[in-house]
């Protein structure tokens, strides 16, 4: 039973990790919370659903969700962030909040406010590993998350574009002096971030075989908790915090009931922050710069 819950928690945690990384990318470059990421996750989910409904295979559905969310992230950067770049930080925060409400409204009008569901037999194959039963979709969620995190880590740590991302995050002026187009890198960060959120949306909605336009708010808030718990200056802190929060959430529901789920999850977040204000991997307390 416990092992089974751990696997379920890992699946949920994998999705939180992806969305937390999505928030971190933009946070690291710009120091702002792009609230609309939560709704990009939701839109990604609907696009994935639509792709599956149209008969596309699963990899194509993930690609559609990622591309769609990245395209919307492009528009968000151009319309709701770029013109406000020199405004106080609260201004782009509010403009992305506005975008997220608009996205939720659009989704409600396009797909309706009732949950959409896939037929029960969709992708319902399960594998029995001793006492643990793993759904094929759970394996996909964990596998795709591992692959995307590895890809992101490679991009950020080993490529010229990744170095440029980190340079802009550390010091925008110095990056520009080295020939980096900070505005192009910012746009790239938005789109990468959108793609990650979109992938997470496709996977969680297919995992539960259901989606509503309101799924973004709740999951997005948890992902922000994951990002904060992971550590202020450590982008990959989410790799520890995501599974941790996912497992705690699933175990709480299994053994304590869903009515105390959020109390435990957010209580844990506050507790960790009280003990380690810099987050699990936050490093020194003086190291409170930007991320990435």
């Amino acid at each position: 039973m416990l092992l089974q819950q751990l696997v379920n928690g890992l699946t949920l945690g994998a999705v939180y990790t992806l969305i937390a990384l999505s928030f971190s990318l933009v946070m690291g470059i710009l120091g702002i919370l792009n609230i609309a990421i939560a709704e990009l996750f939701m839109i990604g989910g609907f696009l994935g659903f639509a792709a599956i409904a149209a008969g596309l295979p699963l990899p194509a559905a993930v690609a559609v969700g990622m591309a769609g969310a990245a395209a919307i992230a492009f528009l968000i950067e151009k319309i709701a962030y770029q013109p406000l770049r020199d405004a106080p930080l609260i201004t782009p925060l509010l403009s992305t909040l506005g975008v997220s409400i608009i996205l939720q409204n659009v989704a409600t009008n396009v797909w309706g406010s009732d949950p959409l569901q896939l037929p029960a037999e969709w992708f319902d194959r399960r594998f029995q590993l001793g006492p643990v039963s793993i759904g094929a979709m759970q394996l996909v969620v964990i596998g795709v998350t591992v692959a995307l995190v590895a890809l992101l880590a490679y991009l950020v740590q080993r490529t010229s574009v990744g170095r440029a991302l980190r340079a802009v995050a550390e010091n925008r002026d110095i990056a520009r002096l080295l020939g980096v187009s900070a505005s192009r890198i910012t746009l790239l960060a938005f789109m990468l971030s959108g793609a990650l959120a979109g992938a997470a949306g496709v996977m969680i909605s297919l995992h539960y075989a259901a989606i509503t336009p309101y799924v973004g708010v709740e999951t997005g808030l948890k992902a922000i908790a994951v990002m904060v718990v992971g550590g202020v200056t450590r982008i990959f802190g989410a790799l520890i915090a995501g599974p941790l929060i996912g497992i705690v959430e699933v175990l709480t529901v299994a053994y304590g009931g869903s009515q105390v789920r959020d109390l435990v999850v957010y209580g844990l977040m506050i507790l960790i922050l009280l003990l380690r204000p810099q987050g699990i991997l936050g490093g020194a307390r003086t190291d409170l710069g930007q991320r990435v």
Partner: protein, 241 residues
Amino acid sequence: MLSLRGLEVFYGPIRAVRGVDLDVQAGEIVALIGANGAGKSTTVRAIAGLLPFRGEIRFDGRTLQPNAAERNLRAGIALVPEGRGILGRMTVEENLLMGLYGRSDRAEAATDMARMRERFPILRARADALASQLSGGEQQMLAIARALLSRPRLLLLDEPSLGLAPKMSDLVFRLISSLRDEGVTVLLVEQKARQTLRVADRAYLLETGRVVTSGTAAELSDDSLISETFLGGTTGRAQHG
């Protein structure tokens, strides 16, 4: 190679640079000297493309646009800013690789990188260390090496000796001298006037955002104003530090 005409730079309502005219010929080392707040750093930051400005900056016959640092680097202007501007959360090697960011000539870039490692053995030895862990002098070497990797035709150096021990400061000045032999044109901002005039061909003295005098290094070494202010005079107009 570089000419400034009527350069004005504002920080909000404050006019930090008030109509500076300045020329740098190819192959020269030209110094900008003056006290804190004279507008030296602001001038080179405007040339590098980090600030909006009024007036005209021409480089190799082309007019430079304000706030266009990325374009100016491609045109051949590199700035080593005050405080060195190293990326402390990256390794020494990664900082050097950032120096190659704008280059597309991969083979030549690799050769330059190898040459730079030979020229600065300390950077090779500490390639995997975080740049923030280097000493001040090593960071300055890294910042200059990184700027040189972009193959600039004009190198702007903003207070490269600031905060360095005398021995390291001498090393930096020797390095600047050697750049001339390699055909790199240098515009050097410094407060250490005596050492600066030793390596420079010509110099401009700035005070409160204006050029108050200029000439060859030899002329300025004999200039009573410079001598009084910077070379051991007692008027105390300059605040070193």
